[in-house]
């Protein structure tokens, strides 16, 4: 029984880790669906959003280091603290402004380019934002606390311990992340099914040309999509940042989302969730059971190999649109 509980514990933790990956993957999917862009900058957007949030909460002066280097004026803090919820809302506004800027100065000029060129442009954007984010908020490690509890879920631990003699471990942060992910997916689904903008979004995803011809403004849609992706990045940034503090490594979480993405299919929101769960459970079980035999630290490559194995059978991912090729 204890063995089964341990197994279940690994699976549950894997599932929840998968949700965390899916949160990042979601941002990729949204943008890819609406504009066919593989947005490499998604990870950096999460870093930027989280750094902005911490900066706002703590009343940090943006560009403080640059100001002091140029003018000699040393100001680092405004001296006030903003309520976390207000700060999240303000960060949302910043992400909206970012979306407008990206659309205005990059995307508009690159309409109808090949996917690899657009991909490259997002890499340029990632570089830019990496430097910009550090210039603006500094590259020190910043603790992020928006009131999400962390640590073991005690009721479950006690209940399982009393019943079976083995207390199961689940992290509160993961539970909250799961709840938030569910809310996020449900509201995204509702938004795209029942609002006018949402329907326009789906139309654009189906066919750019046709959408344009019925009078949908592509540029407006892109701003909306990038804003939503920015907010998803903010959520991912909050979740990962609460765990490890806000720092440069936050931008590397994109790498954890890529196998999720190809497994689930670039164009499917449910795919991102299911893909995340499969990758999460798969890599945890592998590392936990087989990892110690072959030296451990297998998670990075195993996620990709697992995704590759699925791709051999379904080249468009589990839920991706069927690839139809014509000469």
């Amino acid at each position: 029984m204890v063995d089964f509980l341990i197994f279940l514990e690994v699976v549950l933790n894997g599932l929840m880790a998968g949700v965390m990956y899916a949160l990042v993957a979601l941002g990729f999917v949204l943008i890819f669906k609406a504009s066919g862009i593989f947005n490499y900058a998604q990870g950096v957007m999460a870093l930027f959003a989280a750094a902005t949030l911490v900066g706002l909460i703590n009343g940090q002066v943006p560009f403080a280091h640059m100001i002091s280097a140029i003018t000699g004026v040393k100001v680092h803090h405004f001296g006030w603290h903003i309520n976390a919820f207000l700060a999240i809302a303000l960060t949302g506004l910043v992400m909206f402004a970012l979306a407008v800027v990206i659309e205005r100065y990059i995307l508009k000029h690159l309409v109808n380019q090949e996917p690899i060129i657009l991909f490259m442009a997002t890499i340029g954007l990632a570089f830019f934002m990496e430097g910009f984010s550090d210039l603006m908020w500094g590259s020190e490690l910043k603790a992020l606390d928006v009131g999400i509890p962390k640590g073991i879920v005690e009721p479950l631990d006690e209940a399982t311990f009393n019943a079976f003699g083995y207390g199961m471990y689940i992290d509160w942060l993961d539970v909250y992340a799961t709840a938030i992910a569910i809310i996020l997916v449900v509201s995204l689904t509702l938004f795209s099914q029942y609002t006018k903008t949402g329907r326009a979004l789906r139309a654009v995803a189906d066919d750019h040309q046709a959408a344009l011809s019925v009078g949908i403004s592509l540029r407006r849609i892109w701003v909306i999509v990038w804003t939503i992706a920015g907010i998803v990045a903010l959520v991912a940034g909050i979740m990962w940042g609460s765990k490890s503090g806000v720092q440069f490594s936050l931008s590397l979480i994109a790498l954890k989302a890529l196998p999720v993405l190809i497994l689930g299919g670039f164009t499917s929101i449910p795919g991102a969730i299911v893909g995340g769960l499969i990758i999460g459970v798969g890599e945890k079980l592998f590392e936990y059971s087989i990892g110690p035999m072959i030296g451990g630290a297998t998670e990075n490559w195993f996620a990709y190999v697992l995704a590759l194995a699925f791709l051999i059978f379904r080249p468009q991912g589990l839920f991706g649109d069927k690839i139809i090729e014509r000469v």
């Binding site: 593989f38 280091h65 640059m66 280097a69 100065y105 990059i106 000029h109 690159l110 380019q113 090949e114 996917p115 690899i116 060129i117 991909f119 490259m120 442009a121 890499i123 340029g124 954007l125 990632a126 570089f127 830019f128 934002m129 990496e130 430097g131 910009f132 550090d134 210039l135 590259s139 790498l255 890529l258 196998p259 993405l261 190809i262 670039f266 072959i294 030296g295 630290a297 297998t298 990075n300 490559w301 990709y304 190999v305 995704a307 590759l308 791709l311 051999i312 080249p315 468009q316 991912g317 690839i323 090729e325 014509r326 000469v327």
Partner: protein, 358 residues
């Protein structure tokens, strides 16, 4: 005015099909070779060798390799770092196992080993396409790096897992190790670059290159006109990996002399080579050099301007470096999505008539 093509008349197909049909181009080409082979070795110093020229040459080879795969055959790969690691560890094992054989052959053999590994990891390309393939090649990237980190045989059971290149000579002149002269290591790399660029140029305009380009432009159509996609894709992976393997071997033996896989061959290197070929120009040999020069030299140049000349704090300079590099990438893509090679072509067109455009 500055770029003339008038007066060149060809009387045979062979003469017309040469790489530099215009005599002005040919003269310029020989001039560059003259500078590279004769002048630079005379004036090179440690800083230029280790920070500018060797990096440029090594990354050029890697860019040539990836450009064959991505630019000519249309298969996007993000496994470059992993394949470079195969080249590096291959050359290390060969160098330590057969110390009497000339290092030149070790490096070529390391390229051969990488080609074999490349074919294996290229197999999924027969079924998976586009970004799906790009992400799938990351499996190779992460797995290979993990492998070289974990299996002690690859690093001869050394305590820390670092591999160190022993001193080796060519014609009695040291080309690896800390005491090697800058001109020797530079010329050693340059010979590889020259030979490989020549091979790449001739492969890509031959039958094989045309098959690759047919696959790139539309694989189904290519298949219908009789191109074997299995053969074309796998040869592209093999040739590309051969180049990248040699780049990895030189990176380790000549440039650094000591590496550990996690950092030296991390995913960031895979992206770097991809940047080079996209910025330089997909499907262009010149573009590989231009892209490598851009990615290698720009940060060094910016650093020297900000820190050396303006005396700014180093961290501010480093952040601005990122901002400017990112901004320039986006700017170049907007101005000329087909890379520096295309800009160069446009410039040549302009120069043909300049200063009398009418």
């Amino acid at each position: 005015m500055f770029y003339r093509e008038a007066g060149d008349f060809k009387t045979s197909y062979a003469a017309d099909g040469q790489t530099f049909p215009i005599s002005f181009d040919k003269a310029r080409y020989f001039f560059v070779l003259f500078i590279a082979f004769i002048i630079i070795p005379l004036v090179i110093n440690d800083y230029w060798e280790k920070s500018i020229l060797i990096p440029f040459l090594v990354w050029s080879i890697a860019a040539l390799g990836l450009n064959i795969l991505t630019g000519y055959c249309g298969q996007v790969s993000l496994g470059t770092g992993g394949f470079m690691a195969v080249g590096a560890y291959g050359s290390y094992k060969l160098m330590t196992a057969f110390p009497d054989i000339n290092i030149f052959f070790h490096i070529v053999a390391a390229g051969g080993i990488t080609a074999a590994v490349g074919i294996f990891f290229g197999l999924p390309s027969l079924r998976i396409k586009g970004f799906y393939l790009a992400v799938a090649t990351l499996a190779a990237q992460f797995f290979l790096v993990w492998l070289f980190n974990k299996v002690s045989w690859f690093y001869n059971y050394s305590a820390s897992g670092q591999i160190t290149a022993p001193t080796r000579t060519v014609f009695g002149i040291e080309v690896t190790g800390p005491t090697a002269e800058p001109w020797a290591t530079y010329l050693f790399c340059l010979v590889f670059v020259f030979a490989l660029a020549w091979i790449a140029r001739n492969l890509t305009r031959g039958r094989m290159g045309r098959e690759w380009m047919a696959i790139r432009d539309m694989d189904i159509a290519a298949e219908i006109i009789g191109v074997n996609p299995l053969k074309a894709k796998l040869t592209a992976f093999a040739v590309s990996s051969f180049f990248i393997g040699i780049a990895g071997a030189l990176y380790f033996t000549v440039w650094f002399g000591a590496v550990e896989p996690t950092e030296a061959f991390g995913i960031i290197q895979s992206f770097r080579v991809l940047f080079m070929i996209i910025i330089g120009g997909l499907g262009s040999i010149f573009g590989c050099f231009a892209g490598a020069a851009f990615i290698v030299l720009l940060p060094v140049l910016l650093k020297n301007i900000f820190v050396g000349m303006l005396g700014w704090p180093t961290d501010l300079a480093a952040h601005l470096e990122f901002v400017i590099l990112g901004g320039l990438i986006v700017f170049f893509l907007i101005v000329e999505p087909h890379g520096l090679a295309q800009l160069w072509r446009v410039a040549k067109e302009k120069l043909r008539l300049w200063p009398f455009p009418h």
